[in-house]
């Protein structure tokens, strides 16, 4: 019976001209967005890979150099773009992509593309995620809103119920029919994405990409089930098709357009972030209290000097067998790192709290769960951004420590700022090689959203088992 109901729903949907045209338009848009998203991904990927390569070349060809001058010269690293960017670019254009790494300072990521775009960009970009998140659910609403009205007005519903069709089976049949229509579109995207990903084997190596793709498909499938179940149940409960449509559209607008903005705005008000000037001033003030690698006369530097002199049993830095300046620079780094850890730690805590605030709203609005999980699975969310920032900072610290240690123990003497190491030595230093987090890590950050979307699915299934779904109610 279930299969017959599903077949019948498909047949009706196909016969309705407006619906089939909408299907074709949305299917076409999905294909177009996926292809153009793929091209866009390739362009961005190449741009950043080339930029990273250029920086590495410059680093390796900096000539014979004093290690500390090299620390000041520094380098830039670029946030690599996830291959699933073509499905959901997430925060990519709103977040900085390049990070300057140098001695004495921890910088933030800079140059977000959105800052060079007009407010047209705030209307949204045409990408697969937008269509899957916004348009496909709308299509399901259009399919489902009068799914009972047709049979009510033609008398077929009464006939079906009289022939012994259980009301719940009818509901399930219609839900599965609407859901399967969404799954068909999803399958289209999945196949196309798989083919595109396979065309770049070097980027889709390993199981993580495929797991994420599978995760995204499962997530959207689950969300479409929620939409289908909700839409069909509402259509069954509300007799007037116009009212049923209006109710569904109101829910859609509220959940996809209004609530995400309201929640984001409230999160921002709950935990306002410091302005960059204030943030830097605070770090600068604390930094000033520490030792200054370039000022051996300050009190902390003097104390450190006494400690080193005592360790080596000499009374003047010039008598040390090593270059004291290198040690002082590194000590300066250790102090600076503690300051950066504190302030960037506080900033990241605030950012995470904002993210948690929006995560909790998933229990009210399943769209929020979908959006956050989609960003996370596409490796394009705030957590991944912070993960990159941390990895780059760890690399900076190792790099600067290596340079300072070379200065200290590489054979030069205190005060010998003209001492240089050959260019080849810089080439031997390991390049920054960012490993994006695995899917399990990403999902761990989004436990609330996972629980919320599962709870929503459970709730809608429970509603289907409620005793009020009787034949009289459907008629």
């Amino acid at each position: 019976m279930l299969v017959q109901i599903i077949q019948n729903e498909w047949r009706i949907a196909w016969r309705e001209r407006q619906l089939s045209v909408l299907w074709i338009i949305i299917g076409g848009l999905l294909l177009f967005a996926t292809f153009s998203g793929w091209q866009n991904f390739q362009r961005i990927h190449h741009e950043r890979a080339e930029a990273a390569q250029l920086m590495r070349q410059k680093w390796e060809n900096q000539g014979d150099q004093n290690p500390h001058s090299s620390a000041h010269y520094g380098t830039y690293v670029y946030k690599p773009v996830s291959i699933l960017h073509f499905l959901d670019p997430g925060i990519d254009k709103f977040a900085g992509v390049s990070l300057r790494l140098e001695g004495h300072v921890q910088h933030g990521l800079a140059f977000a593309a959105a800052s060079e775009q007009s407010s047209l960009s705030r209307f949204g970009d045409l990408h697969t995620g937008l269509i899957l998140q916004i348009l496909v659910p709308l299509l399901l609403i259009f399919v489902a809103f009068n799914s009972f009205q047709r049979e009510r007005s033609s008398g077929a519903l009464r006939l079906m119920l009289a022939q012994g069709t259980a009301p719940r089976s009818l509901l399930w049949g219609k839900i599965l029919a609407v859901w399967s229509m969404a799954l068909a579109l999803l399958l289209l995207v999945l196949v196309l994405s798989g083919v595109l990903a396979l065309s770049q084997p070097q980027l889709s190596q390993g199981t993580d990409v495929w797991l994420r793709l599978l995760g995204l498909t499962t997530l959207y499938a689950l969300y479409y089930f929620l939409i289908s179940a909700m839409a069909v149940q509402l259509a069954a409960a509300i007799r007037q098709p116009a009212l049923s449509l209006l109710s569904l559209l109101s829910i859609w607008v509220l959940s996809t357009v209004i609530l995400p903005k309201v929640v984001a705005a409230s999160a921002e008000q709950q935990k306002p972030l410091l302005g960059v000037m204030q943030f830097n001033e605070q770090m600068h003030e604390e930094r000033e209290k520490g030792l200054n690698g370039h000022d051996p006369e300050d009190a902390r530097s003097k104390r450190f000097e006494r400690k080193i002199l005592a360790k080596y049993g000499v009374d003047d830095p010039s008598k040390l067998p090593i270059n004291y300046d290198g040690l002082l620079m590194q000590e300066d780094e250790y102090y600076g790192n503690a300051v950066w850890d504190k302030h960037f730690g506080l900033l990241n805590r605030d950012l995470r709290q904002q993210a948690q605030y929006t995560a909790w709203s998933s229990f009210v609005n399943p769209f929020q769960a979908l959006r956050n999980l989609s960003l996370s699975l596409a490796n394009a969310d705030l957590y991944q951004h912070l993960h990159f920032q941390k990895a780059a900072e760890m690399y900076r610290r190792t790099l600067i420590r290596t340079l300072n240690e070379k200065m200290a123990y590489g054979g030069s003497k205190t005060g010998d700022w003209d001492w240089t190491v050959p260019e080849a030595w810089f080439s031997e230093l390991e390049d920054f090689n960012y490993q994006a987090p695995a899917m399990a890590w990403s999902l761990q950050q989004r436990t609330l959203e996972l629980v919320a979307i599962a709870a929503w699915a459970l709730l809608l299934i429970l509603l289907l088992w409620m005793p009020w779904w009787k034949a009289e109610r459907l008629l």
Binding site: Q18, L29, R48, A51, F94, F123, G124, D125, A242, M277
Partner: protein
Amino acid sequence: MITTILQYELKQLLRKRVGWALLLFILLGGGYAIAYGWLNYQHYRTQIDEVQQKQAETYAELAPKYDTLTQLGDQAPERLNSFGDPIMADFRYRRYSTWLPSSLSALAVGQRDQQTPYQRIQLYRNVNLPELEEINNPEQLLAGNFDLSFVLVYLLPLLVIVLGFNALSQDREEGILSLLKVQGLTPKQLLFTRVGLQFGLLWGLSILICSIGFGVVGADWAHWPAWVLGCGAWLILWAGLVAWVNIWGRSSAFNATVLAGFWIVLLILLPALINFWVDRTYPVLPRSEFMATARDISSQEWDRPVAAILADFQKTRPDLYAKLPQPIRDTQAIKVFMYNENSMAKVEQLGAPLMRTGAQRLGLENRLKYLNPAYAFNAILTTSAGTELSNFIDWQNATKETLKQNRELVTQIGLAGKTFKKAEFERLPTFKAPPLKAQVGGNLLCLGVLAGLLWLLVWWSAQRNAAEV
């Protein structure tokens, strides 16, 4: 007859619970948007105030020192010597160019939240390489702002749809339409009167909300007519769509589906497609090469022999070269100024395409606005609030000009081998904000033309479908 319909419809609207619910919805939404925008603006304003205070503080701290330097001349204490050095004078006097959109930006955040609103005015600064980048939560930026412009651009059309989707179809479905026809009332009259009344009510409501918003945030009322007219034109466009769909003579559910489709197309699909077009035509240029090259230009330039720097300087800045006291004696002392001029000229040349791309993108978006009325309406709101990219570019250009003036002054004094006294210190340029360029006329015309064309289509369809209607 029309007065009777109006009175009846008004009574009906007041009796309908859905009408009151909508009123509450828009008032709550508008109120929340105004409050959110105001708090957001206060937070932003505090940051700008801190920057401006810092500038005032350094001025207050430095001015007496330059008084002393001027009064005592060579007798000035040794500790003040470095204050006379042009580079140190420029460095110590912390001046900022600040992008300060008006308080109206509380109602239309636009691109304000994406930009760092201040830049240091200093010898070595380049407008394309800001010293600081504003701290933001990118997920919040992705979600967007719930400001009044969002309410007007996105939610207002929804109200038009909800009130008007069944303007004619409901009566037909309930069998009242034929009764009305008997009483000599044409469906066309009924439809236009209803849509007109709904338009009038919603425009009145939007005027009320805008006025409350302007009052609360203390905005310049000179922009109020632009907002009100913009809302009017936007509503006329949507009322036209509602009327047009009703004329087709289909069911209420069908009308609602089609109007929801129009909403999606005009507010999501078309802007996204045009954004896609603009992105493909003028992609945002990556800054990686620019940053790397800018950094290397500085170090390479510095490593060159002084004679080569001097020769280049003569070529690139003949005006400044002519002012050098002849014969040039201590080239080493003036190397830093020449080096700076040469490298800045090269860096600016490199940065020119970055600046150009923004303008090109805006140009294309502007040309495509007739396909994208939502953008035209949004641009009325954001440009009058001074929060659009075009306003930011104006600010960047003004900053560039101040940076140039600053460099000219410091370089001229440095090249002449002079030191800074009170007069020179006072001449150090501070930033003056460019006048606000609100792009209202063109965008209003665009909305007006589109609404006019649509209403012509409505009229023509009504004539053609007279029997059906």
